[in-house]
Assembly symmetry: C2
């Protein structure tokens, strides 16, 4: 099968939203009047972002999910995406499953595949995603990293640390009971981008980011961009490790220190970390409820730069947690 | 050097055109009223699209040039691009040269780097480029592949076949005198995207495509998308091999058959192949002159499907030329 047949068979569908989709030199998008286009790119590399033997359906899901998560962090409504794919070989079963995982998630979010590229090479998936953000009275409604203010509450959606727990189990650095592994693995391989929550937080949250490299590291980006610091209640954060509520959890024997590390620096969660003024607590609750996404308040923004961690008794913790860095 | 330092040092510059550039979860673009956004992605893989030892400055140039060429083929004005980069290691000298080649071409076209991704992995460069196309009275001015009509003239810009000539010399399948190799190599490694010509052809050309896989193969896309055929004068096409006019050309000893193959199926030229009605010959000349880009008329669109090749005497040629396919 040649390049053009491959594109036609697995990746070409009629454009419904875009003016022009797959098949010409460019795709054409017509943003609605009064909107801006939010754009994000993520590249996934075999051996770095996923194991060579990962289920291609979940890989297709994840490749788009991590990009949709960036749109969610900006409060953008998904519109379209391009896919550039380097493949070591043409494996039709793999392509069928990969494209199904990709397009199932795309359909769930009304996000249309409008173009891209396929080439021969070590497996590499590069997606660029486009979303719409309203502009109201000349002001963009995009959620940025730079809007956190002293006194704001710090929130995180859903669960954190479970993806990393699965990763460590797959790497063999710890052993998990089968039922727990399945649950944690689905967090690693099929993350849920918080697209509805991001949009519901427009005009409510003061700053937002998606948690891809680890809660503390990603929250650190908000703090630096906003010129503020924060104090976190680590007991509340550790509680967000959903695996702790699995019936087989006690069998796993993960000590308290490791649980803390997973929750605070785990990475690959694709939750939203965000801040909002204290006056917006009801609005945050409403956004969570409207988007059917749990959110937890875990700390507060301070004037003093840096991140302060408190234990359950409110005493400062000295331990530092390294965030994920692709080149560190 | 970590991922964030790398981005800050080599790829972050203040946004001047975009609402928001590098550094948040998304970039924000605000297309001008009455315009559409043209989008294209290209992925370049080491060993497939470039040699491992290629000069990183020219690689940076080429990575963006091949994307700008897609905008040119749509008649779009470059606006912005994202860069996703997988690197086997952090090599500062390489990054400095690569980013300089990339950003020098970007600046020449007013095309702003607004975001992207960096990760560890086999060298892979994925660029997604954004351009603006006017919409006049509800009608997109984008040049598409599908507009060629029987009786239209077939044109190609600049030179074709020289990039492939250089590639064959670098692969060792033929030997070139040094001066000729330098000239041909610059066509391979630093192609000129025909951005100004593409814009000048809006409202003039009936269909357009950029020549990346080879003249016949790419022209074939226009023919299929337009439901027409064409007849080409191969003597005129071979004349577009610029190396034939180099003083050292006779020394290279490239026979007529090989010249034909280079010109018709060479690939990597990043010229524009386009069609226009006979009534638009003066307008095509004016577009070429305005954009300071030579164009040559090499054939005509017919009703009968397929591509017919004529020799200098006007007699049909039977030989077939294979177009480049990444998976063939």
């Amino acid at each position: 099968m040649g390049e053009f047949d491959l594109i036609a068979r697995y990746f070409t569908r009629p454009a419904t939203r875009a003016v022009l989709g797959v098949g010409d030199d460019c795709a054409l998008l017509q943003p609605a009047p009064g909107t801006q286009l939010a754009i994000s790119s993520d590249m996934l590399v075999e051996g770095r972002h996923f194991f060579a033997d990962v289920d291609p359906f979940t890989l297709g899901h994840k490749a788009l999910a991590v990009n949709l998560s960036d749109l969610a962090a900006c409060g953008a409504k998904p519109q379209a995406f391009t896919l550039a794919l380097a493949l070591p070989r043409v494996d039709e079963a793999w392509l069928a499953a990969f494209s199904k995982g990709l397009l199932t998630l795309a359909d769930a979010h009304g996000c249309e595949l409008v173009g891209g590229d396929t080439t021969h090479g070590p497996l590499n998936i590069c997606i660029t995603v486009f979303g719409e953000v309203p502009v109201v009275q000349g002001k963009s409604q995009a959620l940025l990293r730079s809007g956190a203010r002293s006194g704001d509450d710090v929130y995180v959606s859903g669960a954190v640390g479970d993806a990393r727990l699965a990763l460590e189990a797959l790497r063999g650095t710890l052993a998990l009971p089968p039922g727990l592994l399945v649950q944690a693995k689905s967090r690693l391989e099929q993350p849920t981008p918080r697209v509805a929550l991001g949009q519901a937080l427009r005009g409510v949250a003061s700053a937002a980011i998606d948690v891809s490299d680890g809660l503390l590291g990603d929250l650190g980006h908000i703090l630096r961009a906003s010129g503020v610091g924060a104090t976190l209640d680590t007991a509340l954060a550790v509680n967000l490790l959903a695996s702790r509520r699995h019936p087989d959890w006690p069998e796993a024997g993960i000590d308290a220190e490791r649980q803390m590390e997973l929750a605070l620096a785990g990475g690959d969660d694709y939750e939203l970390a965000f801040t909002a003024p204290g006056s917006a607590r009801d609005a945050v609750e409403a956004a969570a409820s409207e988007s059917q996404t749990p959110v937890s308040r875990i700390g507060r923004i301070d004037t003093a730069p840096g991140l302060r961690l408190l234990d359950a008794a409110g005493k400062p913790l000295q331990r530092r947690y390294a965030s994920f860095d692709h080149f560190a």
